[in-house]
């Protein structure tokens, strides 16, 4: 009120416009005292008023009793005077003037005039206008924030302008501000913004967000736009309705499928897709079946998105259409379930079948079942039972000419089937890089019966084929392969390492001597592979052999023997291991030092300490590394000293070891290294250690380093801050989230997901919802899933309402684990049916008894689409105790789709 009092003046006139009262404010701004003004005719005191034609407005008030307002934008002022405070734009005070009739009883006896000084406000508005048009995002952001805090209508209008800003941060503030300010009356303004700016996606999306967040009902006016003569308007109305997440939009959109304009019909299909409009699937399927070149594609996409499995079988014939077969295959892969496998197989079993697209569909279905339910084998089993000899022949023939993804899908499907011819077809395909993984998986599944075929491949021309055969043999674990693998181990340089790995997996002791022969190999990787395999064999003679080998003349042999003896911790080798710490060869000493912490001998610490102080740089580095495994209290003095070692790698491993031990005593040294060490990797290791130790002093250093230009250092500092629970660690992470550098923001998101904190879930939700960078949005969803607090789970549930984020948010929820099921289950009562469906889907993927119990509640959902999704989810979970409920639904549900799904679920 203080502000108003100081900026408004009031005077009155009689019916002849003679001034009767004149307040102090007016006296002060005009320099005319009340005594001077009273009794003077207005036009005499201020002749300009008459000259500007403003007296007629007074006369109208007196004659008609109306209230006249002199708009500032047009008239600027009534009484010319200087602004109260200096203005950079206006020489004269800008005034908002209201002229109201002054009455006595019912008679008009004069005028009551209020003059409001709006100069400062206009100045500020112009400033904000300029700031909103600035090229600097930070300036625009501040302006939007200032407007968002105001309650004036003018602010709302400016904020609407900011909805089209190129920066998502500015748009976010505008959406936030408007969502607070908008009232039902403003819906028309928003809709006007939509109408006028519907070609600007920024405005469109932001205006729609305001509508969604403000809770104002826009369905009816938007639906009305669908009857407008303007085609463009009808198109954006379909967009807007699709984004309202409100099933009440569905009937209007289904009506729009009959629009005279194909473009409107096209966009209506997309909107129905967004709304997952189960009610539209029959019409959409009919459009797909019409094979209309323009509309069948989006119709198939929409059907895939809606996910009503009832119509899947109707799409199978479209695989025979050369134009539509690919999107139809996609749709079947996405929305199909076990029910579509049989018709796909039936088509595959015909001569001239579109083999590749069928394989594409089956492969997509297989992958989706694996991704969502970890049940890809279900699809493979159904397919293998339904594909006959003709189908097999078709697959094999198609493989002859296929390449790339097509070949991979064909191989995947063929690999579900069995038979000698299939096996012989698959084995040579190990040479095809794109299909190698699928071939190996199939062969491993076939098991020992393909051992001979795989052994044949050990002589193949292509080295990758030979390697893949070895990998498969190792995984099959058939001891019959051992002689051939031993031969490969000894005769083929390219195969030594994979052969050693395979022999290690098979674990047959016949390979022992051949592997031991390799521990002196000149190639370090070969030695390591041989050592790993020998360690897997666990041969009873190894301890005795190690005693001998630790004294071998060949340093490579001694080095490998150290690794084997250290791994098993043979008592009889302890003394020799200590001796090898002083071996003449550096690599042997290094290996011995690495393993010395694992032997139980009092002398080990002294040997390690001596090595850390006096050995060569590489051995000192190995000792620093090894100290991570030494009992904490005893290691500290050694490691603290090592932080000052002349060699960077010694300091590096010492810092890492200190971090693992969490020595707070080393804070000063670590802070020094993090800030000033000459070797970048040492600074990074020190930063990592500071994150493990934590505390406000560590945070202060890390906050500075989080702004470093060097990406690795910055990244390590942000990660370290994410590990620290101290409240000071949060602001630098939030600051990094506002960076213009995407890499920095991604790291900040990951760290926030680890750390959490007040307001973090909300911030992550905003990024996930509003950031146009898909990687940022995904990272924010991942961070929410890692956070897994009640707020984060709610945020993920809310995000499922956004079609662009739905799948990622569902995946995030589904991976949260058993202890979060109850929190996820709250989403079953969400007001939006699309969210409830998403929650059902997430629960269905969790395969937990508690999830099934929550799903049973969703069988009573008021929306058929939610009940349908629930039936599908329960069918996947295979819960026996829901059978009665399914029987009831199959008989009595009001929706045919739900009844059908329940019947199919019961047949499983």
């Amino acid at each position: 009120m203080t502000v108003i009092e100081h900026r408004v003046g009031v005077f009155t006139t009689d019916e002849h416009l003679v001034i009767r009262s004149w307040d102090e404010w007016l006296a002060s701004v005009t320099g005319i005292s009340a005594e001077e003004a009273r009794g003077e005719r207005l036009a005499a005191l201020f002749p300009e008023i008459e000259a500007r034609g403003l007296l007629t407005r007074f006369e109208r008030v007196l004659a008609e009793g109306v209230v006249e307002v002199l708009a500032t934008a047009f008239h600027h002022y009534l009484i010319a005077c200087a602004p109260l405070t200096p203005s950079k734009r206006f020489e004269r005070m800008q005034q908002r003037v209201t002229i109201a009739p002054l009455r006595e009883d019912r008679a008009i006896v004069g005028t009551l005039v209020t003059i409001e000084d709006v100069t400062a406000r206009l100045d500020r508005e112009r400033d904000l206008d300029e700031q909103l048009a600035s090229a600097d995002e930070a300036v625009r952001l501040r302006a939007a924030q200032a407007l968002a805090e105001e309650e004036e209508r003018a602010s709302a209008k400016k904020l609407m302008g900011a909805l089209g800003d190129e920066s998502w941060r500015v748009r976010r503030v505008a959406v936030d501000g408007l969502a607070q300010q908008v009232e039902a009356g403003e819906v028309s303004d928003l809709l006007r913004a939509l109408r006028e700016e519907h070609h600007n996606p920024g405005v469109l999306n932001s205006a729609l967000q305001v509508l969604a967040l403000s809770g104002v009902d826009a369905i009816a006016p938007l639906a009305e736009f669908l009857n407008d003569a303007d085609t463009d308007l009808r198109i954006y109305a379909t967009h807007a309705l699709g984004d309202q997440h409100d099933p009440r939009a569905i009937p209007a959109l289904i009506g729009a499928l009959d629009d005279q304009d194909a473009n409107v019909r096209f966009h209506a299909i997309e909107a129905l897709s967004k709304l997952r409009a189960t009610d539209a699937v029959d019409t959409l399927t009919a459009i797909a079946e019409s094979r209309d070149f323009f509309l069948a594609f989006p119709a198939l996409d929409a059907l895939a998105s809606i996910g009503d499995t009832r119509i899947a079988a109707r799409l199978v014939p479209l695989l025979e259409d050369e134009v539509l077969r690919s999107p139809a295959a996609d749709a079947l892969g996405q929305l199909g379930d076990g029910e579509v496998v049989a018709p796909l197989a039936a088509l595959l079993n015909t001569e001239g079948a579109p083999v590749s697209v069928i394989a594409q569909s089956l492969a997509a279905l297989f992958k989706r079942y694996q991704r969502a339910y970890q049940e890809s084998a279900y699809i493979a089993d159904l397919a293998s039972g339904a594909i006959n000899a003709t189908g097999v022949q078709n697959l094999i023939a198609a493989i002859d000419t296929a390449a790339g993804d097509e070949l991979r899908d064909l191989v995947l499907v063929l690999g579900w089937l069995e038979g000698e011819r299939i096996e012989r077809t698959l084995v040579p395909l190990m040479g095809e890089a794109t299909a190698r993984k699928e071939v190996v998986e199939a062969l491993v599944r076939y098991g020992e019966r393909v051992t001979d075929l795989l052994i044949e491949q050990l002589g193949a021309e292509d080295v990758e084929t030979r390697k893949a055969a070895i990998v498969a043999l190792g995984r099959i674990g058939d001891p019959r392969a051992v002689p051939a693998l031993v031969e490969a181990l000894t005769n083929d340089d390219d195969l030594i390492i994979p052969a050693a790995g395979a022999l290690g997996k098979i674990g047959d002791r016949r390979a022992f001597e051949a592997l031991l022969d390799l521990i002196g190999h000149t190639d370090a990787a070969v030695r390591q592979a041989a050592v790993s395999a020998i360690n897997s064999l666990g041969h009873p003679d190894m301890a005795a052999r190690a005693v001998i080998l630790l004294n071998d003349a060949n340093p490579y042999v001694r080095e490998s023997a150290v690794r084997i003896a250290g791994y098993f911790g043979y008592d009889e080798c302890a003394e020799l291991l200590l001796q090898r710490c002083g071996d003449e060869e550096e690599n042997v000493r290094r290996a011995a030092i690495e393993h010395i912490p694992y032997i139980e001998d009092e002398r080990a610490l002294a040997v390690l300490g001596d090595a850390l102080e006096n050995a060569t740089p590489r051995v000192r580095a190995a000792a620093a590394h090894a100290f991570a495994q030494v009992e904490s209290a005893r290691a500290l003095p050694y490691l603290l000293k090592a932080l000052d070692d002349a060699d960077a790698w010694v300091r590096y491993f010492a810092a890492r070891a200190i971090g693992q031990h969490g020595y707070s005593e080393s804070l000063d040294d670590l802070m020094r290294l993090a800030q000033t060490d000459t070797a970048r990797q040492v600074r990074i290791a020190a930063v990592d250690a500071l994150g493990q130790i934590g505390g406000p002093r560590a945070v202060a250093v890390l906050a500075t380093l989080a702004e470093a230009m060097e990406p690795d250092l910055m990244s390590a500092a942000l990660k370290a801050l994410g590990q620290i629970g101290h409240p000071d660690a949060l602001p630098p992470l939030l600051e990094a989230l506002r960076s213009t550098d995407q890499a920095r923001r991604l790291k900040a998101l990951a760290a926030l997901g680890e750390r959490g904190g007040q307001g973090v879930a909300e911030m992550l939700q905003w990024v996930a919802a509003a950031d146009q960078d898909a990687a940022m949005a995904q990272a924010a969803i991942d961070a929410l899933a890692r956070l897994a607090t009640a707020e984060a789970i709610n945020a993920l549930i809310t995000l499922t309402a956004d079609t662009a984020r739905r799948e990622a948010a569902i995946a995030g929820l589904a991976h949260l684990g058993q202890r979060h099921i109850e929190a996820i289950g709250h989403g079953i009562n969400h007001p939006q049916s699309s969210v409830r469906r998403a929650v059902v889907e997430a629960l269905g993927r969790m395969k937990q008894p508690l999830a099934s119990e929550l799903l049973i509640q969703a069988l009573d959902d008021r929306e058929a689409s939610v009940r349908l999704a629930t039936v599908s989810a329960l069918a996947h979970l295979g819960s026996r105790n829901v059978e009665k409920r399914l029987v009831m639904l199959a008989r009595t549900d009001t929706d045919a789709a739900v009844r059908g799904a329940a019947q199919r679920a019961l047949r499983r």
Binding site: A433, I497, P498, Q528, A529, R618, A622, Y652, A679, R680
Partner: protein
């Protein structure tokens, strides 16, 4: 599917960082489907350095004072040395039967320079030399052949000139008999042919390296771009085009296409081979 990292017990937590660093420095890009391959190639180096994680090795390559030396080892490890004589020989024939005669028909005083830019263990430049020798070109005209690879180890093998059986899968027997003699279970290239080639180590992602070599009329750069990212290919091809003579002939592998990568060459058919021609 598998990787040596499992067998060797390495942590792959920082593998992506390392992959991107290698892409930046060498142009070689290993997408997610090929990550096992890269892990296999690098694991021995990580082990040999005494490290247990790719992160340590990444810091070594990026920050250590001895990183330059380590990068040479990386180049060796990543080198694809699975090649053979007379591979994709139509292109070699196109050079010998059409490009070389056209070049010397213009009575040029300058020697004809040929660069085999990713020669691995030398089978490609030796195949070119054999084809030229078969047509008697070395006696009639000045021809220089340069052969380079990013891998020191590959070039060292090429300089030794000793080849195993796998390198001969495509070479006609009479050429093998004429240009090789058996030695310790392998085959040694005839010294007079071997000496026609000048060997060097070149990183195709180094403008300085490419600048030294690319002032030639013919470049064979085959079966290397399949391992490069698009950005790396564009860069290297641009450096080629800036320095090659006009006309200049660039041969790439049958599985490689530059049509989307450059406007600086015209795609032409010469004999039975396709070639990118700078005009």
């Amino acid at each position: 599917m598998h990787s040596y990292a499992d067998t060797l017990g390495l942590s792959d937590s920082a593998f992506t960082l390392l992959r991107d660093l290698i892409h930046e420095r060498t142009g070689l890009f290993y997408d997610n489907g090929k990550s096992d391959l890269l892990i296999d190639k690098l694991s021995p180096l990580v082990i040999d350095r005494g490290f247990t994680s790719f992160l340590d090795y990444y810091y070594l390559l990026k920050y250590d004072v001895e990183a330059d030396e380590e990068w040479k080892r990386v180049a060796d490890a990543l080198s694809v040395q699975e090649t053979f004589f007379w591979r994709e020989v139509d292109q070699v024939k196109a050079v010998v039967e059409q490009v070389v005669p056209d070049y010397f028909s213009a009575a040029r005083a300058q020697p004809l320079r040929i660069w085999s830019a990713a020669c691995a263990t030398g089978e490609e430049p030796l195949s070119i030399a054999m084809a030229l020798q078969e047509k008697g070109w070395f006696e009639r005209a000045p021809i220089e052949i340069y052969a380079t690879d990013a891998s020191r180890a590959a070039i060292a093998k090429a300089q030794r000139g000793l080849y195993r059986e796998r390198s001969f899968r495509n070479l006609p027997p009479h050429l093998r008999a004429r240009y090789f003699r058996e030695e310790q279970g392998a085959w040694r290239i005839a010294p007079e042919l071997h000496s026609k080639i000048k060997w060097a180590t070149v990183n195709l992602l180094s403008e300085a390296d490419v600048g030294l070599m690319a002032r030639v009329t013919i470049i064979f750069c085959r079966n290397v771009f399949i391992y490069f990212s698009e950005a790396a290919i564009r860069k290297t091809v641009r450096w080629f085009s800036q320095r090659m003579t006009t006309p200049g002939y660039l041969f790439v592998g049958a599985a490689e296409s530059l049509l989307r990568m450059t406007n600086e060459f015209q795609f032409e058919e010469i004999g039975d081979a396709f070639v990118y021609v700078k005009k």
